[in-house]
């Protein structure tokens, strides 16, 4: 992670990398959250 981005290309490379990683985190968290939410549902 650099301090300053000189090109839009570099800026996007960084922000999109972070976003992709977050996408994976969100998907996994969703599964966990969904189970938490529907845990005590009657079947």
């Amino acid at each position: 992670m650099e301090g300053i981005y000189y090109t839009l290309q570099d800026f996007f490379t960084y922000t999109k990398s972070v976003t992709y990683i977050l996408i994976v985190v969100v998907l996994l968290a969703m599964v966990g959250f969904w189970r938490f939410l529907t845990d005590r549902d009657e079947n």
Partner: protein, 407 residues
């Protein structure tokens, strides 16, 4: 060894034995038949061309050039292939998310088609890409996260895994692996939701690929709505392929289909036909808006404009109307033809965007037309898919339910 697991493993072993017998029978049925001869010729030719491809390079088997970097292996095998494999996510979404249980019998054939479709896309990419053994590089070495292609690649790989897992229960039933199958069945809803997310992403992103080249794609096809156009058209492509395939299966695999499938065909055609008609109508409207927001009306009178209208009126508006008539009159034949028209239309759209309206401004000497070997290899790849479908559908409980399982 306790008696229970002794009998259990004996059952598994005997299932494997039976499975092998099924495979041999299916192979014989597929290749020692009137069509079987054609398959063998195509496959042999394909193998020869494969050797040529990897000894003489792309120049030896294609008409690709520095102006035309992507040919029919991208325009047809990848773009059209992925659009037509959408039957998988559309059918499983209809049944498992939207609750249309009456179409349950159609899920497995659709998933198998999807699974084989994406497998063939990956096979085709191994021919097209310069160094196919490096295809994992974007994931394991350097991530070009600014690239739409990066996202396409990630989604296609993940979705292929999802499709594989959705296909497995049928194979496991065939192999008699009851416990593993039970575990997988539990994942159905999660896999379906994940499959819809991934399909939305990569179907739209295949359209987004062309956003980076506004100077090369004809303005009637270039739009910031490209991702939306691609996703929406993949939905009715999926419906249409399932309808068309059920008609084909009925004709060629009638003996392998169980009663549920035979009876459900009409229901399926009517239901999916209605849905397809609706989505086609929406797509037509959105295409019109695409013209209006960029004020491209005057282009409709140009030669490319006429071609655009052929695509829009002949292969979007027409099947939309045909589906509606077929649904209203409960006419399966009209619905079948609407499905064929739609499928051709989606293929035409993908070819227009990648090959015909692409580089439209270049002089004709610099334009692309596929080499016969490119076409032959595409035919070879599609044939592999058809053969695989035949073999799998005749061995495994795809077109019928396995007698031992009834959940």
């Amino acid at each position: 060894m306790p008696r229970e697991s002794a009998t259990a493993s004996k059952t598994v072993l005997s299932s494997f034995d039976q499975a092998l017998k099924d495979l041999v029978k299916a192979l014989r049925e597929t290749f020692i038949s009137p069509f079987g001869f054609v398959y063998i010729i195509i496959i042999l030719l394909g193998l020869i061309l494969t050797i040529l491809r990897f000894t003489k390079g792309l120049a030896g088997v294609t008409n690709l050039s520095d102006y035309n970097a992507w040919g029919i292996w991208i325009g047809f095998d990848l773009l059209t292939g992925v659009a037509l494999a959408a039957g998988g996510f559309v059918t499983s979404a209809a049944v498992y998310i939207f609750g249309y249980k009456k179409y349950h019998f159609a899920v497995r054939p659709a998933i198998l088609t999807g699974f084989l479709g994406y497998a063939l896309v990956i096979v085709a990419l191994n021919y097209d890409v310069g160094r196919p053994w490096r295809m994992p590089y974007p994931f394991i070495l350097q991530q070009g996260t600014t690239s739409v292609l990066f996202e396409v690649g990630a989604c296609v790989v993940l979705y292929f895994l999802v499709l594989f897992m959705e296909f497995c229960p049928a194979a496991l039933e065939w192999l008699g692996l009851k416990k593993l199958r039970k575990q997988l069945i539990k994942l159905t809803l999660v896999l379906t939701i994940f499959g819809v997310i991934l399909s939305t992403l990569h179907q739209s992103s295949l359209g987004s690929l062309f956003l980076i080249a506004p100077s090369k794609l004809h303005p009637l096809w270039y739009s910031s709505y490209l991702p939306i156009f691609f996703f929406v058209s993949s939905v009715f492509a999926g419906f249409s392929i399932v309808i068309f395939e059920s008609a084909l299966s009925h004709r060629f695999f009638g003996d392998k289909m169980d009663e549920a499938l035979q009876k459900g065909r009409e229901d399926l055609a009517l239901g999916f036909g209605k849905a397809a008609s609706l989505v086609l109508a929406g797509y037509f409207a959105v295409k019109i808006f695409g013209i209006s927001v960029d004020n491209h009306w005057h282009l409709l009178g140009t030669p490319y404009g006429i071609w655009f209208l052929v695509e829009l009126l002949g292969f979007v508006a027409l099947p939309c109307f045909l589906y509606a008539v077929g649904v209203r009159d409960r006419n399966l034949t009209i619905i079948k033809w609407a499905a064929i028209c739609t499928v051709i239309g989606v293929m035409l759209n993908r070819l227009n965007i990648s090959l015909i309206a692409f580089n439209w401004h270049l002089p004709s000497a610099d334009r692309y037309f596929p080499h016969w070997m490119e076409i032959a290899i595409s035919v070879f790849i599609v044939t592999l898919g058809i053969v695989a479908f035949r073999i799998i559908a005749s061995m495994m409980p795809i077109l019928h339910d396995h007698p031992d399982y009834n959940d």
